[in-house]
């Protein structure tokens, strides 16, 4: 890495401007083992190792890596439009939490009870209701108007 590439690296890591006279370039160039004014891969890795362990600025290194598009687990973060840019694999709506919770009548009954509590609790319960799919029992009762055909097992 030449000093121009190091300046670009600093710019990409911090989001700040970095000209060729910036002190950070010279700090990084201290790891230039053969003193040719360029960092080899080994030098660059030594700079990272030193920052994490010796200098104890792991949080700064983490922030810099995040700016380069790496997650906490050091995997590349997916970019918008990429296939794997989803939190979890959910092949169908049946795998969504709001669908699973919707099927639990006990959960609904608890939410109805929470609606009667003080305003903050009640507000949160209302928000939860809005996120969930319609309660199956209520939905079918209304749809069939209490005249569920005996042949239907719902």
């Amino acid at each position: 890495m030449s000093n121009v590439q190091i300046a670009n690296f600093v710019k990409g890591s911090t989001g700040e401007t970095c000209d060729l006279t910036d002190s950070r370039i010279f700090i990084i160039l201290e790891f230039d083992s053969n003193k040719d004014g360029k960092l080899t891969l080994t030098d660059f890795l030594e700079f990272y190792r030193n920052s994490c362990i010796d200098k104890g600025i792991l949080s700064t290194v983490r922030n810099n890596l995040r700016n380069h598009g790496f997650r906490q687990d050091l995997q590349m973060a997916p970019k918008p439009g990429q296939d794997d840019n989803i939190l979890q694999l959910r092949p169908t709506i049946h795998d969504m939490p709001r669908f699973k919770l919707q099927q639990n009548q006990m959960f609904f009954n608890m939410l109805f009870q929470l609606l009667a509590y003080q305003s903050e609790v009640s507000k949160e319960a209302q928000r939860m209701f809005k996120m969930l799919n319609t309660n199956l029992e209520k939905f079918w009762t209304l749809l069939w108007l209490d005249q569920v055909p005996q042949t239907l097992n719902i």
Binding site: F112, N135, K138, T141, L142, L145, D146, Q147
Partner: protein
């Protein structure tokens, strides 16, 4: 269908009911099962006295509100 003793549950049921009533089923193709089901549902709701139940519910709500203002 309605449970006047539990106002929150009743309110929830009314919201579902509203979604059944305000849905513009005329936008659906006349031959689809969904269109037929929705048309049949409104007719059944009226036939089974659903609107009468709603009026009773409103009466109850008004009475409760009046009682509360007198307290």
């Amino acid at each position: 269908m309605f449970k006047p003793d539990n106002v929150h549950e009743t309110s929830y049921v009314l919201e579902i009911l509203e979604s059944f009533l305000v849905n513009d089923y005329l936008m659906l193709d006349a031959n689809t099962d969904e269109r037929k089901l929705r048309e049949m549902w409104v007719a059944n709701f009226i036939r089974l006295g659903g609107f009468v139940e709603l009026v009773k519910l409103c009466d109850n709500a008004i009475n409760i509100a009046e009682d509360a203002t007198q307290l």
